[in-house]
C-alpha cells in the first residue's frame, strides 16, 4: 500500500483555447488534511471536477489508490472511495435527510430489483441495516432529530452537515470538501473546522479541502497547495505558503510584494 492515496501527474484541462488546469502534479498522503487554495478563477473547481470524474482530463493521469481513474464517470470515482460535497449545496431537496443519506449508500448496497419487489429477507435485512446506519451518520453529523425533515427545510448549517453525512455514507477513503464554509459565519466556520478534525480522526479519512478563503485553511491543513491561472505556484506548510511572494502577489496584487 502506497503512502499516497491520490496522485495527479501532469493533469491538464483545456476548454477550447483556455487552459483551465495547466499540468498540475499533486499528491495527497493518507490520513492528511490537504488544502487547495487560489483566487477566484484559479481552476480549483475544474481540478476538483477532474478528480471526481465530472470532467475528463485533456491530458495527464489521476491515480487513486494505485488505479488510474482519470476520465472514468463520477459514480466510478465514488465507488472507489472518493466522496464529495458541493460548493453550492446540492442536496436532494425533496427527499428527507434519511433518504439523502440512503442515496449516498447506493453503491454500497446490493438490493436488486426483483428481490426488492418481492421483499426477499436479504434485501429487507440490508434495508433495515442501511436505515440504522443512516440514523447513526445523521447523529454523528449533529442532525439527530432531523431524520424525517425534508432537506430543503433544514437550516443552512444543517444542510452543509447533511451534505457531509451523505458523502460519508458513500464510505469514502478520501473526502473532498468544496468550499465547505462558504456562507457560514465565523462561529459556524470554527465549529466546522473542529468537525473536520473529528472526521479525520474518527473515520480514518483523508481530506482535501478546497478553499477560497486563506485564513480558514491555515489552521487545519497539513499542507497547502496554491493554484493560480491553472498552475501550481506554491506548496508547503501554512507559514511557508503565507510568506511566499508569489502567493501574496496572486492574492493581493504586485504592489503588496515590494
Amino acid at each position: 500500500m502506497s503512502e499516497l492515496l491520490l496522485e495527479t501527474i501532469a493533469l491538464r484541462k483545456e476548454f477550447g483555447g483556455l487552459v483551465a488546469v495547466d499540468d498540475v502534479d499533486f499528491t495527497i498522503p493518507r490520513g492528511s488534511i490537504i488544502s487547495l487554495i487560489g483566487p477566484n478563477g484559479a481552476g480549483k473547481t475544474t481540478f476538483f471536477n477532474m478528480l471526481t470524474g465530472v470532467y475528463k482530463p485533456t491530458a495527464g493521469r489521476v491515480v487513486f489508490d494505485g488505479e488510474d481513474i482519470g476520465g472514468k464517470p463520477p459514480h466510478a470515482a465514488t465507488e472507489r472511495g472518493i466522496g464529495r460535497t458541493f460548493q453550492n449545496i446540492r442536496l436532494f431537496e425533496q427527499m428527507t435527510a434519511t433518504e439523502n443519506v440512503l442515496v449516498g449508500m447506493h453503491c454500497r448496497l446490493k438490493g436488486r430489483m426483483v428481490p426488492s419487489i418481492f421483499g426477499f429477507p436479504g434485501v429487507r435485512r440490508e434495508e433495515r441495516a442501511a436505515r440504522e446506519r443512516a440514523r447513526e451518520l445523521l447523529a454523528y453529523c449533529d442532525l439527530a432529530g432531523h431524520e424525517d425533515d425534508y432537506a430543503r427545510n433544514l437550516s443552512y448549517g444543517d444542510q452543509r452537515r447533511l451534505e457531509v453525512a451523505r458523502a460519508l455514507a458513500t464510505q469514502p477513503k478520501l473526502l473532498l470538501l468544496d468550499e465547505p464554509t462558504a456562507g457560514m459565519n465565523p462561529q459556524e466556520t470554527l465549529e466546522f473546522v473542529d468537525f473536520v478534525f473529528k472526521l479525520r480522526d474518527d473515520e480514518d479519512l483523508t481530506i482535501l479541502l478546497i478553499e477560497h478563503d486563506m485564513k480558514l485553511v491555515m489552521g487545519v491543513s497539513d499542507r497547502i497547495t496554491v493554484l493560480e491561472y491553472g498552475a501550481k505556484i506554491a506548496e508547503g506548510q501554512a507559514q511557508e505558503v503565507q510568506s511566499d511572494p508569489r502567493v501574496i502577489e496572486a492574492y493581493l496584487g504586485k504592489a503588496a510584494v515590494s
Binding site: G38, P39, N40, G41, A42, K44, T45, T52, G53, V54, P73, P74, H75, T78, E79, R84, F86, Q87, N88, I89, R90, L91, F92, E93, Q94, M95, E99, L102, V103, G104, H106, C107, R108, L109, G111, M113, S116, I117, F118, G119, V123, E127, Y150, R152, Y156, R166, A169, T170, E179, A182, G183, I210, H212
Partner: protein, 498 residues
C-alpha cells in the same frame, strides 16, 4: 385554527351570530373534534334533501353510496388507511354485478350530467390504460425522464402477443412444414397452425421482449437530457408505429406485422382445459356468456388483477434502492452521479421497467381485442397516457390510476354522455338537422369529435389551478408549494464560483 377554515365557514358563523345566536363559533369549536367533523356533512345533506325532495325522490342507491363515503370520512385516519382501499377494491370487484343489472336503478343511480356509470367494456379498457399509466409513471414520475413515445412499448407488447398466440406464424416453414405449435393456447381452430401459447406465458414474454426493447431504445437515447430526450423518444414512438404499418412482405420480404390489416385472429384469454377441470378457472373467456359473468367481465377481472400487480410492483420499486436512485436523478443528476449512482444504468432500468408494464398492457389489449391493428398505436396514445399521468399527479401511483380511469371514461363514453346531456337539457338541439360529422350543427354539440382538444383544455386547466395534479405525490406537492428547484443562474446565497 381560523386559517384552516374557508370563507364559507367564517361567513356561516358570522351569519348565525348576526341573527342572534351568541358566540356561535367559539361554542362550536369547543365541541369534540369528532363532532366537528361528523355534523357538517349531515347538515349539508339535510339541506340538500329538503331542497331536492319536492322535485324528485332520491335514489336509494345514491343514498347508500353517500353513506359509505360519509362513513369513510368520519372514521379515524388509522382505519381509513385500510378501509378506503378495501372499499374501492370491493366495489371494483363487484362492479360487473352492479352495472349489468337489468333493473339498473336498484343498484346504481344516475350521475348528474354524466348520466350512467361506465359500462363493463369501458372498465376493461380502463384497467389496460391504468396499467400503462402506472408504467409510464415510473419513467416520467419517478425518474423524471419525459417519454413521448410510450406507445412504442404498447405496440411491441401487442405484436409480441400476436406472434406468440395466433395463426400468423403458420406462413413460415421449418423443414418444409408450416409452424404448428400449441402450448396451452385456447380457442385454437384446428388445422390453422401457427404458434399458440397460453396467454399468461405470452404476457410475461411480451413484457420481457418489451423491456429488452426499452433497453435497446434507451441506450442511445438516454444520454440526452430533457427536451432532447423527449424529441428522440417521440421519434422512436413513430418509428415503431410505422414499422407496424409497413412490416408486411412488400417492404421486408417476409411478413412480420401483417401490414395495415394487422394480425388477427389472436387467441382469446383463457386458462385452458386442464386448469378449468382442476381449479375451476374459465377455460376460454369467449365461451362465457352469462348475464353477469361474460367475456368482458372476465377480461375486466383479469385486467384488474394485472393492474393490482403492476401497482404493487411500482410501489415496491419506488421504495427500493433503485427507486431512491430514480428520484435522486430526477432531483439532481450531478449530485446523484457524485453519490455513486450510475446514471445510464439507472435510467435504463427505469425505461425498461416502464416498458415492461407497457408490454403487459399491450399484450393484454391484443388478447382482449383478439387482434392487433397498426392504427391502434398512433402518436396520440402516448400523449393521452402522459395526460393521465399529469392529470392524476406525477409520481403518485393512486393519482395516476385515478387520472387514467377518468380520462379513459371520458374517451370511451363520458364525452358523448355529456354532449347528450347538453343537447337534451341546455342547448336548442334539433337532432333532425344535426350533422353527425360536425362539432356544432343544428344547435347540437358533438364533443367526441374534438376529444383531444378537450383533454388539452383539461390539462391546461389542471396546470393553471392545480399544477401538482389531482392526487399529488408528497414530494411534488412540496415542490409546487414552495417553488421549483432549478439550476440557479447565479446563486446569491453563496460565495462566487472559483
Amino acid at each position: 385554527m381560523a386559517s384552516r377554515h374557508g370563507r364559507a365557514y367564517r361567513g356561516f358563523f358570522r351569519l348565525l351570530e348576526s341573527v342572534g345566536v351568541k358566540d356561535a363559533r367559539a361554542r362550536w369549536e369547543r365541541k369534540s373534534p369528532f363532532l366537528q367533523r361528523a355534523v357538517p356533512p349531515l347538515a349539508i345533506a339535510a339541506v340538500v334533501l329538503v331542497l331536492v325532495l319536492p322535485f324528485r325522490t332520491p335514489d336509494p342507491a345514491a343514498i347508500v353510496f353517500l353513506a359509505i363515503v360519509y362513513a369513510l370520512y368520519i372514521m379515524p385516519p388509522r382505519w381509513r388507511k385500510w378501509a378506503l382501499p378495501a372499499t374501492v377494491l370491493t366495489i371494483a370487484v363487484l362492479y360487473p354485478f352492479l352495472v349489468q343489472q337489468l333493473d339498473y336503478q336498484r343498484f346504481l343511480f344516475e350521475i348528474p350530467i354524466f348520466n350512467t356509470f361506465p359500462t363493463i367494456d369501458t372498465m376493461a379498457v380502463m384497467a389496460i390504460y391504468a396499467m400503462m399509466a402506472v408504467g409510464l409513471n415510473i419513467v416520467v414520475g419517478y425518474a423524471g425522464l419525459l417519454d413521448l413515445g410510450y406507445v412504442a412499448f404498447y405496440a411491441l407488447g401487442a405484436y409480441t402477443a400476436a406472434w406468440l398466440a395466433s395463426p400468423h406464424a403458420s406462413q413460415f416453414h421449418i423443414n418444409g412444414k408450416p409452424i404448428d405449435l400449441n402450448i396451452g393456447g385456447v380457442g385454437v381452430t384446428e388445422g390453422l397452425g401457427g404458434i399458440h401459447i397460453s396467454i399468461w406465458i405470452v404476457l410475461l414474454a411480451a413484457a420481457i421482449v418489451t423491456a429488452v426493447g426499452g433497453i435497446l431504445i434507451g441506450l442511445p437515447t438516454l444520454r440526452l437530457r430533457g427536451d432532447y430526450l423527449a424529441i428522440v423518444t417521440l421519434g422512436f414512438g413513430e418509428i415503431i408505429a410505422e414499422v407496424a404499418k409497413n412490416g408486411d412482405s412488400i417492404t421486408l420480404g417476409f411478413n412480420l406485422t401483417g401490414g395495415p390489416p394487422g394480425i388477427n385472429p389472436l387467441d382469446p384469454p383463457g386458462w385452458g382445459t386442464w386448469l378449468a377441470d382442476h381449479l375451476g378457472l374459465p377455460a376460454n373467456y369467449l365461451e362465457k356468456s352469462g348475464q353477469y359473468v361474460n367475456f368482458v367481465t372476465l377480461v375486466y377481472w383479469s385486467g384488474l388483477v394485472l393492474l393490482l400487480l403492476t401497482i404493487f410492483c411500482s410501489l415496491r420499486m419506488r421504495d427500493s434502492r433503485l427507486g431512491r436512485a430514480w428520484i435522486a436523478i430526477r432531483e439532481d443528476e450531478v449530485a446523484a452521479a457524485a453519490m455513486g449512482i450510475p446514471l445510464m444504468r439507472t435510467k435504463t432500468w427505469a425505461y425498461a421497467s416502464g416498458a415492461f408494464f407497457g408490454g403487459v398492457a399491450g399484450a393484454w389489449f391484443g388478447s382482449f381485442k383478439q387482434g392487433v391493428f397498426p392504427d391502434d398505436f398512433y402518436f396520440q396514445i402516448s400523449i393521452f397516457i402522459l395526460c393521465m399521468v399529469i392529470l392524476g399527479g406525477m409520481g403518485n401511483v393512486w393519482g395516476v390510476v385515478a387520472g387514467a380511469a377518468f380520462l379513459t371514461y371520458l374517451n370511451q363514453e363520458g364525452l358523448s354522455s355529456v354532449s347528450t346531456w347538453f343537447n337534451d337539457k341546455v342547448l336548442p338541439c334539433d337532432p333532425n338537422t344535426a350533422d353527425p360529422a360536425k362539432v356544432i350543427s343544428g344547435g347540437c354539440v358533438n364533443a367526441p369529435l374534438v376529444s383531444f382538444g378537450i383533454y388539452g383544455l383539461i390539462i391546461v386547466l389542471v396546470m393553471l389551478f392545480r399544477p401538482e395534479g389531482l392526487i399529488p405525490e408528497r414530494r411534488r406537492k412540496l415542490e409546487f408549494e414552495t417553488g421549483v428547484h432549478d439550476e440557479p443562474l447565479m446563486d446569491l446565497r453563496h460565495a462566487p464560483e472559483s
